[in-house]
């Protein structure tokens, strides 16, 4: 019943190129689309559960210290109030992605401004909200460090040092030594974190907004001191994640404690402000880039250093240098990252952790180096693509950087012959162009999925994998349909329930390759069983439109089933291959901007992205992932910045009015090129992830375009009008 594939070798069979249904890769619309556009897709907080109580979190109005008392009686007399909970099982911090445990419990010790300290439960939301505002607490607050530059950081325990960077810099024909800063980002998924918990005396069932149920069930079970078999998590529709829902958040544990204590279902939905204040931030960064080229334009020095921050006792550090390790050649290398311990809210994964801020800075520095060396910036990159990982020597899987650069340049109409800034003006706007490479490491994880072939000739796919907007429902159905010879409408995909076979969930762009491979493995086993029933070798069979045919015969799939349901569980596991190769998606960005000479405002006028990420499973949803990434490039280049008060550490802009994500008018038509390739190393379906690649470097293209337009060279992201104006040469 179970089929297990451990991938130790590249899979060059390209099975999905030899199947004949013809739906894999096609731009099919999402099977869940009509539910979403008619408002009938049900998100975590929207289940109509009888007798459900409402919980509202109370948060700390100070950054560091201890809650010494909570006066329940200050609110228990208010209408509808049922309970005030401050329980040692409750979690003060959102749990990091893939933690699989709850390392921090208990709310009385406060480590950041806005940390939950209690839950008020009432009959209605309005009653709970009002009571939460009136809860009287006493606390002792202490001084705390909020500025990462104000403390001694923890050093990198595994820096990369090759050759002599300092000597290479001084010997070089052309070099740059630049310091950049990037500000903190929020995921700001549109659906706030939410949970409805139900305890039936034996099992805890929680509808929650989560990305990785397989890890989340362990985290919640650990927090609640329950056996995992007594916990069920459901997340059928998730209103965006972007890393903020990788781990169990505080609302989920609070609702779970409340339902077990009160014996009634309890809903807890974070306010938008609470999501901003206590889920996850991307760390701000300080980065130093030292790059040098010889007279042939070959990199001789590559130095990339970073300072990031997090709360004490957090393992996560923004992996700023992740793709810098292998993107460009250069014999003399130094890559190291330090971590400062400060009392801002937990730093964790926000879309494309690492590359989202490391790549734009590297690419802005490459732009300045190209200018110094008088080289077309596209050519500089083309001339410095390594043939293997510069430090480990591991070969690459597929590598489409050169083709993405060339095809992107052609589609955009790139002319790199004269990169002199301030050459084009339209009225009060300076116009300019810029480009950047894209890279994002490929991740893949162990996954299981069950595929059932019903006696009516339809199939069902089941896994706890989530669809956070990425298109999982669509692509898993396409893989199964392609393998079994069924149309999209004949495959039903069910996701987001820990009662299904489990996998790694959505995060790090690994969902499609991991869960997709599990579905693939299950379907291969089903095809083998069908072949045995027919008495033909599986390679002799063609599966198409519900019919299985071979040289001199055919049979309807439903007839083979003959009243039986065939079920196979596919179990995919990455094996040695993950250690033997460097796997990454690559791409290129080209941007044209207009910069206002009087206000410093930057408008992105057009943008092209070319991306190579293995097999395209669905051209429509893959393109959408790229579009989304490029929109995030615009936000991180121009507007997005979490701002913290330097005196008390509170987040100054904890909402969507003050934290500026791009709006519709900030985004022009974006041109996306999907550069087809097969990566035999990445997965048995030859696919890599695409959820993050689209934002890994594009902000650097915009930065380079701003310089090319108006001559303002900035070393800080986001490049807001005040900063652009201050750096712009006077006419």
């Amino acid at each position: 019943m179970s089929a297990h594939l451990i991938q130790d070798e590249p899979d060059t069979r390209n099975v999905l190129d030899r199947t004949t249904q013809g739906i894999i890769g096609k731009p099919l619309s999402r099977p869940d689309g009509l539910l979403k556009v008619t408002g009938t897709a049900t998100y975590a907080s929207e289940y109509d559960i009888e007798g459900c109580l409402e919980g509202v979190l109370v948060t700390a109005p100070f950054a560091k210290g201890e809650v010494t008392s909570i006066d329940d009686s200050s609110v228990t007399g208010m209408p509808g109030v049922v309970a005030v909970l401050n329980d040692k099982r409750m979690t003060p911090r959102a749990i990091q992605g893939t933690a699989g445990e709850a390392p921090h419990t208990g709310l009385c010790k406060v480590d950041y401004w806005g940390q939950p300290i209690a839950l008020v439960v009432a009959e209605t939301f309005e009653q709970a909200r009002d009571a939460a505002k009136h809860l009287e607490i006493e606390f002792n607050s202490e001084d705390a460090i909020f500025d990462p530059a104000a403390c001694t950081p923890e050093p990198d325990d595994d820096p990369t040092r090759q050759g002599d960077l300092g000597k290479a810099m001084s010997d070089a024909e052309h070099s740059v030594d630049l310091k950049f800063t990037t500000e903190s980002h929020a995921s700001a998924a549109m659906e706030p974190h939410a949970a409805i918990a139900q305890w039936d005396g034996d099992t805890l069932t929680v509808h929650a907004s989560l990305q990785m149920l397989n890890y989340n069930i362990s985290e919640l079970a650990d927090a609640m001191k329950l056996d995992e078999s007594k916990v069920r998590l459901v997340a059928r529709y998730v209103g965006g994640g972007f890393g903020s829902k990788l781990g169990v958040s505080q609302d989920i544990v609070a609702a779970s404690v409340a339902t077990m204590q009160l014996g009634r279902p309890v809903r807890v939905v974070m306010s938008r402000q609470q999501v901003f204040q206590n889920v996850m931030r991307r760390s701000e960064t300080s980065q130093r880039l030292r790059l040098a080229v010889d007279h042939h334009g070959k990199l001789t020095a590559f130095g990339h250093e970073a300072l990031v921050s997090n709360l004490p006792e957090e393992d996560f550090a923004e992996p700023v240098l992740q793709s810098s390790h292998f993107l460009y050649a250069g014999k003399n290398r130094l890559l190291q990252s330090e971590t400062a311990r400060i009392h801002r809210m937990t730093a964790g994964s926000v879309r494309a952790p690492g590359e989202a801020v490391g790549m734009p800075v590297l690419e802005a520095a490459m732009g300045e180096l190209a200018e110094k060396a008088g080289i077309d910036p596209v050519q500089l990159r083309l001339d410095n693509i390594p043939t293997k990982h510069p430090a480990t020597g591991k070969p690459f899987g597929s590598h489409k950087l050169a083709e993405c650069l060339q095809r992107g340049a052609e589609a955009f109409g790139w002319d790199g012959s004269d990169r002199t800034p301030r050459q084009r003006r339209e009225g009060e706007w300076w116009i300019g162009t810029g480009m950047a490479s894209a890279a994002r490491v490929h991740n893949v994880g162990e996954a299981k999925a069950r595929v059932t072939l019903h006696d009516d000739g339809t199939a069902k796919v089941e896994t706890d994998m989530t669809d956070i907007g990425t298109g999982t429902y669509t692509i898993l159905g396409q893989i199964a349909g392609e393998m079994l010879g069924l149309s999209q409408s004949d495959v039903l995909t069910e996701l987001g329930d820990t009662r299904f076979p489990r996998g790694p969930g959505s995060g790090g762009s690994w969902g499609a390759a991991s869960a997709g491979s599990a579905v693939f493995v299950a379907c291969e086993a089903l095809r083998e069983e069908i072949a045995q029933k027919i008495g033909q070798p599986v390679d002799a069979l063609t599966f198409k439109d519900g019919l299985v045919s071979w040289d001199d015969g055919s049979v309807i799939l439903a007839d083979i089933a003959n009243g039986e349901n065939f079920t196979k569980e596919g179990h995919f596991e990455p094996g040695d291959i993950a250690e033997d190769y460097t796997a990454s998606g690559f791409g290129a960005f080209f941007a044209e901007v207009a910069v206002n000479r009087w206000t410093g405002e930057t408008r992105v006028r057009r943008m092209t992205g070319a991306f190579g990420f293995g097999r395209v499973l669905n051209a429509k949803t893959a393109r959408s992932q790229c579009l989304g990434g490029m929109v995030w490039c615009i936000g991180s280049a121009l507007t997005e910045s979490l701002m913290f008060d330097p005196t008390d550490g509170h987040l100054v802009n904890p909402d969507l009015a003050e934290y500026h994500v791009p709006v519709n008018r900030d985004v022009p038509d974006l041109d996306v090129l999907l550069v087809e390739e097969r990566d035999a190393v990445a997965s048995p379906i030859q696919a890599k992830g695409i959820g993050e690649l689209g934002m890994c470097g594009g902000a650097g293209a915009i930065a380079n375009a701003i310089y090319n337009a108006c001559g303002a060279r900035l070393y800080v992201f986001p490049m807001t009008p005040d900063k652009v104006l201050a750096a712009m040469p006077v006419d």
């Binding site: 556009v37 408002g39 549109m190 529709y237 965006g240 791009p662």
Partner: protein, 166 residues
């Protein structure tokens, strides 16, 4: 004291603090209208009240005695989706789907605003009848945030339906 939602009459709530959005989602059981910020900053709660789009989180249910409210569920159904609902599916004008009902309610009313001759910041000549350029669509849809970044596809979906309409 009642308000009408998608053709059905509902008694106004006893608790005057209940927002129109919470009333729609809870008392009327229509969870298609989404709560993204509860402060009128994201547009996910957009519904159409007496023909005009509003953020339903920014108004109290008790203020709408006698009003006629259309939510996403009132625009079309799984069996009979509206033209915009179909176009959003065809053009992948969403990803996670959470802002989508607000986007579609907003776009539905926005097209009526264009027909009524209402100008916007993107209108060159505010005394002339506005034409539905992409820039007009982008400007008029900028009150509806989409963190997934589906904006180009949202514009394409609206453009297609508006093209059919004129």
């Amino acid at each position: 004291m009642a308000l009408n939602i998608n053709g059905n009459s509902f008694d106004l709530p006893n608790d005057p603090r209940t927002s129109l959005l919470d009333f729609i989602r809870r008392e009327a059981g229509l969870t298609g209208s989404k709560k993204g910020c509860d402060h009128g900053q994201c547009g996910a709660c957009t519904v159409i009240v007496n023909g005009e789009r509003i953020n339903s989180c920014l108004t109290l249910a008790v203020m709408h005695d006698g009003c006629s409210v259309t939510t996403i569920e009132g625009l079309g159904t799984l069996a009979e989706p509206s033209a915009l609902q179909k176009a959003f599916v065809d053009h992948d004008g969403y990803q996670c789907g959470y802002c989508t009902p607000g986007q579609i309610c907003s776009a539905t009313a926005m097209l009526d605003e264009i027909k009524a001759g209402m100008p916007s910041d993107a209108t060159d000549d505010i005394t002339a009848a506005p034409t539905l350029t992409d820039e007009e669509i982008r400007e008029r849809m900028s009150g509806n945030l989409c963190r997934c970044g589906a904006y180009p596809n949202i514009v394409a979906a609206i453009r297609e339906v508006a093209g059919e309409a004129t």
